[in-house]
Symmetry: C2
Subunit: 489 residues, 2 copies
């Protein structure tokens, strides 16, 4: 009875967040420019009200009553998650939450313009404000003995600290640059052949790409009666509320790789959302396990599935039908194109081998920003230097450099590292599924993921979920083995 | 100081409503079907929270502090409107507000399906629930000595009661059927000529229509940097918040009249919204005067301007460019088509002469529903009988009959009559503008409307606003004179 009252309260709180999620989705996909200022105010108010509800004495009271009742293991976990959220929220004053909501809403709008105009200086003061506020927030959230950046990291992986992430990245830094160089050399002849193939450069008209992207998403199990596909500057997926998990992509008329793999990536996120336990929707236990696990699902469908020959054998004639420029392109050339490994500037369009080097750059820079070791004004030059060192190339302008990601403008410091853990887990889940013989059929693979990864919601933390699904601790080994097998096998 | 605190509180309350408006806009334009149930719950929660804020002792306290301060006439009016809203909201318990929000959200979704499938019985139980709840609400809102329907009417025109509306409709009923018959006879030859013109039946492809509609809206002053045009089952306009006033239309590929005049109609609404006093946005004084005045603006642009020869002289070649089927259609035939008067079934596509007979049918039926003189189960037959009596034709199915309007599913009982007052006012405003010589130029006309009608916001009630803008009391005379001049002149 007390438990039910608590759940009703939580679901109502999530309704406010659902409204905010739609306001944000709309802001990225179709809001007229004139609405920016008011939209930021609306989002700020909703964030403030959500924070009020999430920290209210009434909620604490509901929780304590519910904890005093006899309970089941699921309910105990639910209450544990509620308490964790409450304790987290109580650390950040409402005023800071509202200032952050407003600052990030404005900063995202300025970022979008600055990115188009390749003008970091336009964005700088807004980013400075966001960094200052996040530093404040991180200090409040920091675990005992931890830094502000530890505090921000704990929002995404509560059990991992800066040192854990650092050693993970150091392990990858030991392997990946060498691996990437070796593959790059091996692919020399393929690269030359593909460079001569005009059909791979389109034109791929917008409508044909959109239709193909819809069909690809649907073909792996994305349910359009509970979602939709739109365009946005930076592809993303967003669940508004139960029964409405949306994805976006972007279109480059001269490069089909951009829209197709962004779509498969976001579809992976949305498949996870569409597989979460429906009846627990709007409660912590019904939510996703972590951003890392979320990313494991997007990368699994994008890379493990989407860049394989098997996937395209069943879909190549459809792609050719939708996009006449592909008529004389052989499937092997398309998949070879989709698996090209080369140093590049844009993270979201980079190959699966160098991808984690992009993340590594961001991890070190954002850590330095939050720690105060790097001024925002120095960020573009630090970015370009890091790319030079890590990938051997330097952006020719900030639009393809430091301005490429939405994350920092949105205040998402501490998020980037979860991409890398997600990449590792994608290979680990896929390996486990393969060992159980379900990767030959996509519906069977989805069913396996539904059971092992989606249906549990937030019953377990990342490492426990991985252990239960795969029998092993999260590690880089399956990921590195996958890269060696696919690219050097 | 107290006044500023009150205003801040009101603006924050409007942010919740802004979120609800976007959720509703999205529901009508693009939400996946699977989101229906959760969407209804989100809207219900927001309605409940808005109601809480709108009736909270804190608001009353803020109001009383503000009233104790020295003030200006504008502020006094603002406070008067706040008190009126407070008193109105205090009459309806939060629980009823939430039940209404949920019932109408669901009913709208079922209505949309029932309309497509022409199946009133599917919709009936949902409408019954809505009618029951509205009757409850009307009884709580009823002015002293008034009925439940009086209570619902007072939401739209606080100073007018059932008896006032009845006598207005009786006056129109004395004139319009005769006028419509006379015009219909006169148009016999034109009708025959137009029936033979294939070019008027398209095909008018969706993209070309959409582009033309965008250009027409823009050409009369609609600002797309603060709005957007989409498709929906029933065209509507919705302001999300300041800087974001949206419109929708619908497309019939064999009839251009449908999309073009729906667009001009909704553009008229949006021009009003875009002309409201920006700095007062989110406060009662910064809102529109009444639904009647709102409708006067939509009808002015749709009918007085949009169905005139002068309007199309400047735009006909554009229409022909966008829609090749019009290539061999003469402008005179198009405007004659746009001015055809004939008994018809669909209100939103009816001509400006018979339009108010459609409204009259709804006024009498909804009054009977709320008064309990008519059961929902009897509504389709009562509807068909009324159409037979009033317009001489009977729907062949409920999709073109009782299911055509969204209003009742949305709980908007008492709204329909304002359409008719809006029609009368559209002619009265246009006449006054013509007398001042500004109707020859659309920018000059818009400037006049901005000053006389838009900029005052809710400073005055409908009748006072009309008197100040036109020098006369609201009446049917300019409207009837306009019809006689245009159709019998």
């Amino acid at each position: 009875m007390s438990y039910d009252r608590l759940i009703a309260y939580l679901k109502e709180s999530d309704h406010l967040l659902a409204a905010a999620r739609l306001l944000q989705w709309d802001q990225e996909t179709g809001m007229p420019a004139g609405g920016q200022e008011a939209r930021a105010e609306v989002l700020s108010t909703l964030a403030g009200l959500s924070h009020q509800r999430g920290t209210s004495p009434h909620l604490r009271e509901l929780l304590e009553f519910a904890q005093s009742e006899a309970s089941t293991p699921d309910r105990i976990r639910q209450l544990e998650l509620v308490r964790r959220d409450l304790d987290r929220a109580a650390k950040v004053p409402a005023n800071l939450v509202e200032r952050l909501a407003k600052a990030t809403s404005t900063a995202q709008q300025v970022w979008s313009k600055a990115r188009k105009e390749r003008d970091f200086r336009m964005f700088q003061p807004y980013l400075e404000e966001v960094v200052g506020l996040k530093r404040e927030e991180g200090a409040l959230l920091a675990p005992s003995g931890g830094s502000a950046y530890d505090g921000l990291l704990s929002d995404y992986e509560p059990l991992m600290r800066t040192a854990d992430w650092s050693s993970l990245f150091e392990e990858l830094e030991r392997e990946l640059p060498t691996l990437a160089r070796e593959i790059h050399e091996r692919q020399g002849r393929v690269r030359e052949r593909l460079a001569g193939l005009e059909g791979l450069r389109g034109p791929f008209p917008r409508e044909g790409q959109l239709q193909l992207c819809r069909e690809l998403a649907q073909s792996v199990g994305y349910d359009f009666s509970r979602g939709r596909l739109d365009l946005s500057a930076h592809p993303f997926s967003e669940t508004i509320h139960s029964g409405d998990s949306r994805i976006t992509t972007r279109i480059d008329e001269s490069d089909l790789v951009s829209s197709v793999f962004a779509t498969l990536h976001e579809t992976g996120h949305a498949l996870y959302e569409q597989g979460l336990p429906e009846d627990l929707s709007g409660t912590p236990l019904g939510g996703f396990c972590s951003m890392s696990v979320h990313e494991s699902q997007s990368r699994l469908w994008e890379n493990l599935v989407g860049r394989s020959d098997a996937f395209w054998q069943e879909r190549w004639s459809l792609a050719q039908e939708r996009l006449p420029a592909l008529a004389r392109v052989r499937m092997e050339d398309w998949t070879a194109r989709a698996r090209l490994v080369r140093p590049s500037l844009i993270r979201t369009e980079s190959d699966e081998v160098t991808y984690n080097l992009h993340v590594l750059v961001r991890f070190r820079l954002e850590r330095a920003l939050v720690d105060g070791d790097l001024a925002v004004s120095e960020l573009p030059s630090a970015w370009n230097e890091a790319y030079g060192n890590m990938l051997g190339i330097v952006p020719s302008h900030d639009g393809e450099g430091v301005l490429q990601d939405v994350h920092w403008s949105a205040g998402m410091f501490g998020y980037f590292p979860t991409y890398t853990l997600g990449n590792l887990l994608s290979a680990q889940f896929f390996r486990a599924a393969a060992d159980q013989g379900v990767t030959g059929s996509l519906p069977a693979l989805l069913t396996w993921l539904r059971e092992k990864v989606h249906a549990p919601g937030h019953l377990l933390e990342t490492a426990d979920l991985a252990r239960r699904a795969t029998g092993r601790n999260p590690s880089a080994s399956d990921f590195l083995a996958h890269l060696r097998e696919r690219y050097l096998g």
